[in-house]
């Protein structure tokens, strides 16, 4: 740095040229950013496009980018031929996400109040205890929870998932109650997305959307457009929520450490 500091500043009279060069560099890097953005968005775009193709057009090689659009995939998703309605799993996911978020709020607001507004003694220890539960791998608790749920007759019951999702999100909610609007969103997304617990602990009645999604993959026949339609439809609430509050995402995901 000292070597740099001694360099004389000769640029004073020719301010025009560096500015133009900088503008050109900015445009160039902007173009690169656009390319990267498109590459990352491509799979999503392909998913949406394929979901609007007929099964015959979806399964071709080379791909038919300009095949006629149809809503057949979505009709299938809504059970046109199989009669399997996506609404129960979707409603289950919504129930689990919304109810667990509300329960999180009900528990976290008083806790955050006790920790932040009128701090109890050793409040940071409590705060870090909350956080540390989030870092323990959920899979290690799966078995006892399964056994307990079996004993209590709670298997395949969506309210079991509500309780579990609440416990998964409570630490984050307590941790960053200051801006809890963002938290509401993240809890919803995490609950909506969860597969492992839902797969083991629910079956037909309480089945959530991610579990339902895996059932679209069949060993016989074509299913690509259906899967893409289902994947798109199930991701839509999360995409909508996430796009609506991009700025809050980081804060929620980094447990409030990044503002």
């Amino acid at each position: 740095m000292t070597a740099v500091a001694t360099t004389p500043t000769t640029a004073a009279p020719a301010t025009n040229r560096p500015n133009r060069a900088r503008r050109r560099a900015n445009a160039l890097w902007g173009l690169v950013a656009w390319l990267v953005g498109i590459v990352f968005f491509l799979p999503v775009a392909w998913m949406v496009l394929t979901s609007l193709h007929s099964e015959a057009d979806a399964g071709t090689n080379p791909p038919k980018f300009t095949a006629p659009l149809t809503l057949d995939g979505y009709r299938e998703f809504f059970g046109a031929t199989t009669g399997a309605s996506p609404w129960p799993p979707l409603i289950n996911s919504a129930t689990a996400s919304i109810a667990s978020t509300l329960l999180v709020l009900a528990l976290a607001i008083p806790a955050a109040y006790a920790l932040a507004i009128k701090p109890v003694r050793k409040w940071t220890d409590v705060l870090f205890f909350f956080l540390s539960t989030k870092m323990l791998p959920a899979v290690a608790a799966l078995l006892p929870i399964y056994l307990i749920a079996q004993k209590l007759g709670l298997l395949d019951n969506i309210w079991l998932m509500v309780i579990l999702y609440t416990s998964m999100n409570l630490p984050i909610a307590v941790w960053m109650m200051h801006s809890f609007l963002a938290e509401v969103l993240i809890c919803f997304i995490f609950s909506w997305n969860e597969l492992l617990f839902a797969r083991v602990l629910t079956a037909t009645v309480a089945q959530t959307a991610p579990v339902f999604l895996t059932s679209f993959v069949t060993s016989q026949g074509l299913f690509l457009a259906k899967v893409c339609a289902a994947a798109t439809a199930i991701s839509l609430p999360v995409l909508a929520a996430g796009f609506a509050a991009q700025d809050k995402l980081v804060q929620g995901l980094s447990l409030g450490a990044v503002k």
Binding site: V4, A111, S132, P137, F216, F243
Partner: protein
């Protein structure tokens, strides 16, 4: 469990330990009361099952042989640590986590640097880049497996066919991506998902850089690389650490991608998947629990570092 707490306590002490004046007992409990429902709920739902896991891990308990349930000491741990498949899954977990976190962190850094500049349509590009993170994880895994990687009708091989035809060649290569490189396939799908996360954290870091240091560097005629190396990178260090640690915590536990893309086959079974399988298909509760405890211990080691980073960021925040 206590290991986490002691680690936590050690991390926390310098932050908040303000010796509080002795409060009358009753007011202390009134103050604590709002905290209790959340605390009790969390202990019951997350801590007690771990205790149960710990107990079961010392038992011989296979659901298919309910009459043979008994304590066996450390047998399950011996099996877990000597069983080749389980050991392989530990190695796989480390491989998956390290490669996904490092690659997505690097890509995230490059993209964050790009997005830190002013250009036309920056908001739209940022929105497009966030999209992968917002696709439901199972949906994204299905998308990669069937719509992109599939050797017959996947987009990748389809584009290869198109490109080859474009140049008049008739036999385009049609690799079976997942079979030929299963781990790379899982890593690619996960990197695609996690790069936006890293990018967002690092972008937040970049945008909180003190402007004065930059102006000074520009006035002094520092090159772009020098500014990056001596100002940006040191400032980003803790954001990089935070991204790496949070990413590790989430990726170590990954289940969706492994379950969907390869069903744990072809050497991609990580620990969460193996535990799921031991418990769900082999019904060996004891062994599954022992493997669970092993994961917990591994995570505690990572979590200790993570808590330290988060608490140092918090201290910074408090200073401002």
């Amino acid at each position: 469990m206590s290991a986490v707490e002691t680690a936590t306590a050690r991390v926390v002490r310098p932050v908040g330990a303000r010796p509080a004046r002795a409060q009358p007992r009753r007011t202390a409990w009134i103050r604590r009361a709002p905290l209790l429902p959340a605390l009790v709920f969390l202990i019951v739902v997350t801590q007690l099952p771990f205790v149960a896991t710990l107990v079961i891990s010392f038992m011989n308990w296979n659901a298919l042989y309910p009459d043979q349930v008994r304590f066996t000491g450390v047998d399950n741990y011996r099996t877990v640590l000597t069983d080749a498949a389980l050991r392989a899954s530990i190695v796989t977990t480390v491989e998956l986590t390290v490669s996904v976190v490092l690659v997505s962190l690097l890509l995230g850094l490059l993209i964050a640097l790009l997005l830190d500049r002013v250009f036309l349509g920056r908001g739209l590009v940022r929105t497009m880049l966030i999209a992968p993170f917002l696709v439901v994880p199972v949906a994204s895994a299905l998308l990669w497996k069937h719509a992109l990687f599939n050797p017959v009708y996947g987009l990748f091989n389809g584009v290869l066919t198109d490109v080859w035809h474009l140049f008049g060649a008739n036999s385009p290569p049609q690799p079976d991506w997942i079979t030929q490189s299963p781990k790379a396939a899982v890593v690619t799908a996960l990197v695609w998902q996690w790069t936006p996360f890293m990018m967002l954290i690092l972008l937040a870091g970049l945008q909180s850089r003190p402007a004065e240091a930059f102006e000074a560097a520009t006035v002094d005629g520092a090159s772009a690389w020098q500014t990056f190396r001596y100002i940006t990178l040191p400032h980003l260090r803790r954001y990089l650490e935070l991204g790496a640690l949070l990413g590790s915590i989430y990726v170590v536990q990954n289940f969706d991608a492994v379950f969907t893309i390869t069903s744990g086959g072809l050497g991609t079974a990580n620990l969460p998947y193996t535990i799921y399988q031991t418990f769900y298909q082999a019904h060996d509760y004891g062994r599954a629990s022992a493997a669970g405890v092993v994961v917990v211990i591994g995570t505690i080691i990572i979590a200790t570092f993570a808590l330290r980073v988060v608490s140092s960021l918090f201290r910074e925040e408090a200073k401002r």
